[in-house]
Symmetry: C2
Subunit: 425 residues, 2 copies
């Protein structure tokens, strides 16, 4: 289907055919959900041994009673795993509670209100502090900036990461840019892994930005490959060491998509100076994280080898779902101008770019046929996708059969919305 070459008559005929097809799908009264990046039940069950895994032994490797208060930055064995995942030293890691999003929220709240270096470095002192947001990106990152009143400036994602020429030019031109969001590996939602050059250029931003600039490096999918040969990503900390910018980047990761999504443990890594300031902030609001749960996690996943074989089981479960999405998109659109998408080698999403002005209508049509999609625009700051093109597909929760059905609906909706738009043009 090539809309650009189609006559008005052809478009009208397609519209009636597609409408009939769509109405038939509506008659199936489907109730399918491709909205959020959640693990499926099958994936969650991979970690059910967590409950009971301690066998009555609540003592950490260094003899700490994990049950009691204390230990603001987590237990040593969990730090060791986090340091391996994020490729940092043992004094550059902190292990928190069940949510890396919480660590990010706390980090930005602290940087905004109190500053990493001293009160003068607090972002609130700026008339209009700003953040760079590669798009499409992760809605929950954008919500934190919006809550704090940090203005978001978009930068396009490319196949190698954010457009670094633009990033560098913007930072050089505007000292009120205080940071940038990054999901560097199997990016949410495009699936792109930053190239070595991108990683190195991001590590250098600390040299051209203002002193209190911080890259929020959300490595949420660090070990979440979908193939037998996971992509390698250059170490941001190693690059920072080369450029003496260790304090310009703060890394995050978690076990949310490794063990139980709502009951995992979260990691944060940065220069010791940043962690020191953060721990002082954190210590006002907590006596420490849930160390018992950290200990449970270390019994289930004691090291990187165990982590990799655990993740291979996730891959085996979710790869068929991604394959289904990609097979359906290929079959429907590879010879058309109706959409473009990346083939991710990891992560939780497939990012679909429809024709301009069609995303909202596609999501609406799908919803009315019983297929929930992430709201159009959600992948942009302020939910404003200026071209109304991007739709994030999250295929992990439904079964393969459900993904197949949902994709059939999705495809009809894309076609119908595109034909409608062309007819209205």
């Amino acid at each position: 289907m090539q809309l650009n070459q189609a006559s008005q008559a052809q478009l009208s005929q397609w519209q009636s055919e597609l409408t009939a097809e769509y109405q038939a799908l509506q008659q199936q009264h489907l109730n399918l959900d491709l909205t959020r990046g959640k693990p499926s039940t099958e994936q969650l069950s991979l970690s059910d041994a967590l409950d009971g895994i301690l066998n009555g032994n609540y003592t950490t490797a260094d003899g700490t009673d994990a049950r009691n208060y204390g230990g603001i930055d987590g237990i040593a064995e969990a730090k060791a795993l986090g340091a391996n995942i994020l490729q940092v030293n043992a004094d550059e890691i902190l292990v928190g509670g069940n949510s890396s999003l919480t660590l990010m929220h706390q980090t930005l709240t602290m940087a905004y209100l109190f500053g990493f270096n001293d009160p003068a470095s607090a972002w609130k002192n700026e008339t209009a502090p700003k953040f760079l947001c590669p798009v499409p990106g992760y809605d929950r990152h954008f919500s934190i900036c919006e809550q704090l009143g940090i203005e978001m400036i978009t930068v396009p994602m490319t196949a190698t990461g954010p457009d670094m020429d633009q990033v560098e030019a913007m930072i050089k031109a505007d000292s009120s840019i205080k940071g940038m969001w990054c999901v560097p590996k199997y990016s949410n939602p495009t699936g792109v892994t930053y190239s070595d050059e991108t990683v190195d250029r991001i590590a250098q931003l600390g040299k051209i930005a203002s002193g209190n600039f911080r890259v929020m490096w959300d490595n949420a999918y660090a070990v979440h490959g979908l193939t037998d040969t996971p992509q390698a990503m250059a170490s941001i900390m190693a690059a920072c060491r080369k450029h003496n910018t260790e304090d310009s980047v703060i890394q995050f990761a978690s076990t949310s998509k490794i063990t139980h999504a709502g009951s995992g443990i979260a990691f944060m890594a940065s220069a010791p100076s940043n962690l020191k300031a953060f721990k002082a902030f954190l210590g006002i609001g907590t006596i420490g994280p849930d160390k018992v749960n950290q200990l449970r996690h270390m019994k289930l996943i004691p090291n990187m080898d165990a982590l990799q074989s655990h993740m291979a089981k996730h891959t085996a479960i979710i790869k068929p779902r991604f394959d289904s999405v990609l097979r359906n998109l290929d079959a429907a659109f590879s010879d058309s101008d109706l959409g473009a998408w990346e083939k991710p080698e990891g992560g939780y999403f497939i990012s679909f770019d429809a024709q301009s002005g069609c995303a909202q209508r596609i999501v609406q049509l799908a919803a009315e046929a019983g297929v929930k999609l992430t709201p159009a625009g959600a992948t942009y700051p302020y939910s404003n996708d200026p071209e109304d093109r991007n739709i994030r597909i999250a295929p992990t929760v439904p079964t393969v059969e459900q993904v197949e059905t949902a994709m059939q609906v999705f495809i009809v909706c894309v076609k119908l919305a595109s034909v409608e738009a062309k007819l209205a043009a």
Copy 2:
């Protein structure tokens, strides 16, 4: 020992005798700790069944998979228990992660930055927002105010709670007073439980204070009696309903001193309007609390009966420690003017008021004899006990034998510091 009637010669003699006694104690090279209100190992072990208690069943009563993301305000069965503890309705409760302190920190951060009602109600809009702090009180409460730059004004604690005449007069006189800290039952550190009249008068503060005034009602020791007949406290929410001030009080509690101190679950209760605003704030920084841990707790402590019999086991363990402290204080000081203290019927502390100007010296002497005490002044905002009198004794962690030894040291230190002060006067 009555210092006021002692001659200089008598004082000097006491000083040499006490110094000799003190030096002998130092030779024992003790290493004892009466600093923080932590449960003892024995107490923690009461809840060791938590790990493994789910038996592979991670489903909540309403069919939710506790392992996955979601549910910002906690699982229904945990809400029911929290509502019982704090005596509120099911729509007036929220269940969080492992720390009620975190909920308090988030509450004040939100009220300060964004307001409970609308941006205009944010406390940061005040030139100098203030908080009333009954003293002696809990250092971690004061640290939150200090972090946010909320000025703290002290109010004396009495045997029935804060001096309510002063509280009411201050609030009437100053609309920049935005709230008050309360530990209403077995108060930290005095052990006082607020009288019915105090509870009722606090419920009426919302009528005389500014619209965005909030009482922070930290009911940390709600079920933590030390006797067979726990004290009853009037329900603050019932009193608020009577006076139409439901949104003026926010209650907190947790299982930190019920199950595993660092790995419990926390409760927050208030008017639905407050909870709605809080959940909107909270949802920016988390997808939800650890529901698996909430479910574990509900298996261990499904209802108030189970809770009460569980708490009776705690009482059996820690009461002998409190008895030891009180017996030693009585024996040493009941016929002297060297100190005054309350006899708590619950909670985690005994609050000791030395002679003015002696608390810091007592803590220092004790430390140098191997007995750690909470730093003098910690029970006051800005760590400033203007009379340098109050010392908080936390006897739960050491064994009874250790408490006995520590109290012998403490008593010698109190006597020695008092004699020194009298001689220097």
